[in-house]
Symmetry: C2
Subunit: 326 residues, 2 copies
């Protein structure tokens, strides 16, 4: 069953892939001393609780519904240290990445697992980040059994975007298709798909779009579905910025900066567009995020020769979505 | 968590959707007295063990690896009755369909759950089949707690194909597409997708194909990937059967019958074809099984106006597949 539990942790982490930027996506499953599942959680957003802290909170809530947890990750950490009542004594954790061992925006997860009396920690991938690593060694010194490399190929796949943006830049192409491959006309993605896309927009450094699309679709390109920060926009165009109609909604978004060349500081870029934009930029992409609805129509399809390798596939309402690499 | 466990049972059952014909697809999850997951199983094939019997076998194997279970469902049932050593005393079962209460090809599952001392049984959908029903009432009379209608909308969706073929006929359209919606040329489905399709071919009453496809593709249309019975074939054609080249491989499959009209006795029919065949028959289909690989190409897409409702989506190797209704 240990692979099953790690797979649950991996799947939960994938739901927040890209959204944890600049942190890695991490999932955590906790079992009680009798191996009953207490929680399946993930790191959801940079600055918020790590996967382990979230999973510990959910596990305690599951055991005692009367806990009144503080919201801020740092407060939550200290509240749990003080109030855990040994409820997680001899529990087991499955974590997709080695628990951190350093004081970042939150205190170290390895210390929390040890203080709460966990008996065993399964880890998919060792943390190679010199600052945060050493968590497993710390756990072992505290007498906690640690097992490494459980589904580690899958754990490594989950970490790929993080490793890319950490070492340089990460380019994601977003495409929405009908079930028969059309990107034209009104491809109505599900509310859930559009929400995920808006969440990504709210964390990226730059949204990259084509001048042609902007003139034709006159988009707003914000993150309204999640009421969050709209991304800065880089318009790929041969014409000057002055040639665009300034009444196109995207130009009126407060605090938005508009670029016509990708600034070097931008580490996480999302490209949004259709067939031509994909043709121009496919070879420099790190990942493709493809939403697909459940409709066939009578429109032409996107025609590009492109063999993708699926990294993850999931469901968002009535849509399917896939995260692919070349 | 109870929804989570029922969802696991439902997902496991969907993996065998269509393959249990003429029986319903059923899944079962068993937890021990401390709520640790012991097994996640399903009914896999008519004549073989029901979901509950399979799940009980897996649970016992999980607890004592030295059990040497007989293969035949009937023998397995009696072996377990005799040798269970109360290992499943106070266990909990999640079953997507009310456990059967009648002696069919195997003895009643309700009796087995009671004899083994299960404490609680969660049921998604009540069995309306008069012959097999009454299982829940039997369990309650034995002092077992029964909870109904857990995720029952999803349980009903799982049962739809069964209810259709039980009451008349069930027509499934199989289509293989590229990620950009092309059905032409060589759509290479994954080995896993083709295996699932061959498994379905081995249980259906009739494979329905178009005359045009047969002349052009010269297919074999058997179940070689699972080394099982090849289906009978109905060729939809305006021409006579004599007009076909008898060297087309499908005509040489032993024991195969060839029809040009669908016989009334055929209850489970699978239609296989491309765009034209889909256009002709889409309105009379009960379900659509659509495989999709991870490649974009430069070929034209299938152009049909068709809004589908997803019933289930899953992964088969690098392919996605969806089971849809109109
Ligand atoms: Zn941490
Ligand atoms: Zn049964």
């Amino acid at each position: 069953m240990k692979n099953f539990y790690m797979q649950l942790a991996l799947n939960e982490a994938w739901k927040y892939q890209f959204l944890t930027y600049p942190n890695p996506a991490v999932g955590c499953v906790i079992l009680d001393k009798n191996e009953k599942i207490l929680s399946i959680s993930a790191h959801q957003k940079a600055g918020e609780a790590h996967a382990e802290l979230n999973a510990i909170k959910e596990a305690l809530k599951n055991l005692k519904s009367e806990f009144n947890f503080p919201k801020k990750a740092d407060d939550l950490y200290h509240f749990i240290l003080k109030n855990h009542q040994n409820l997680l004594k001899n529990a087991t954790a499955f974590v997709t990445l080695e628990p951190c061992n350093h004081q970042g925006k939150t205190p170290p997860c390895a210390k929390l697992l040890a203080e709460l009396g966990f008996k065993k920690v399964f880890i998919s991938v060792k943390d190679e980040n010199k600052i945060a690593s050493g968590g497993a060694e710390f756990l072992q010194k505290q007498g906690i059994e640690v097992e490494f490399e459980l589904l580690c190929k899958q754990g490594e796949k989950l970490l790929k975007p993080f490793l890319k943006w950490q070492k340089g830049s990460f380019k994601l192409f977003k495409l929405a298709l009908s079930l028969n491959g059309s990107a034209y006309g009104k491809i109505v993605s599900s509310e859930e798909s559009r929400t995920y896309a808006h969440q990504i927009r709210s964390v990226i450094d730059m949204l990259v779009v084509g001048g042609e699309t902007i003139r034709k679709d006159r988009p707003l390109l914000d993150s309204r579905l999640v009421k969050a920060k709209a991304p800065h926009v880089c318009i790929m165009t041969r014409k000057s910025l002055e040639s665009f109609d300034k009444n196109i909604p995207l130009f009126s978004v407060p605090k938005r900066q508009i670029f016509t060349q990708i600034p070097k500081e931008a580490k996480f870029l999302m490209f949004e567009g259709g067939e031509n934009f994909l043709k121009n930029f496919k070879d420099e992409m790190d990942c493709f995020l493809i939403f697909q609805n459940s409709k066939l129509n009578t429109q032409n399809n996107v025609k590009i020769s492109l063999e993708l390798t699926p990294m993850y596939k999931g469901f968002l309402g009535s849509d399917t979505y896939g995260i692919y690499e070349l």
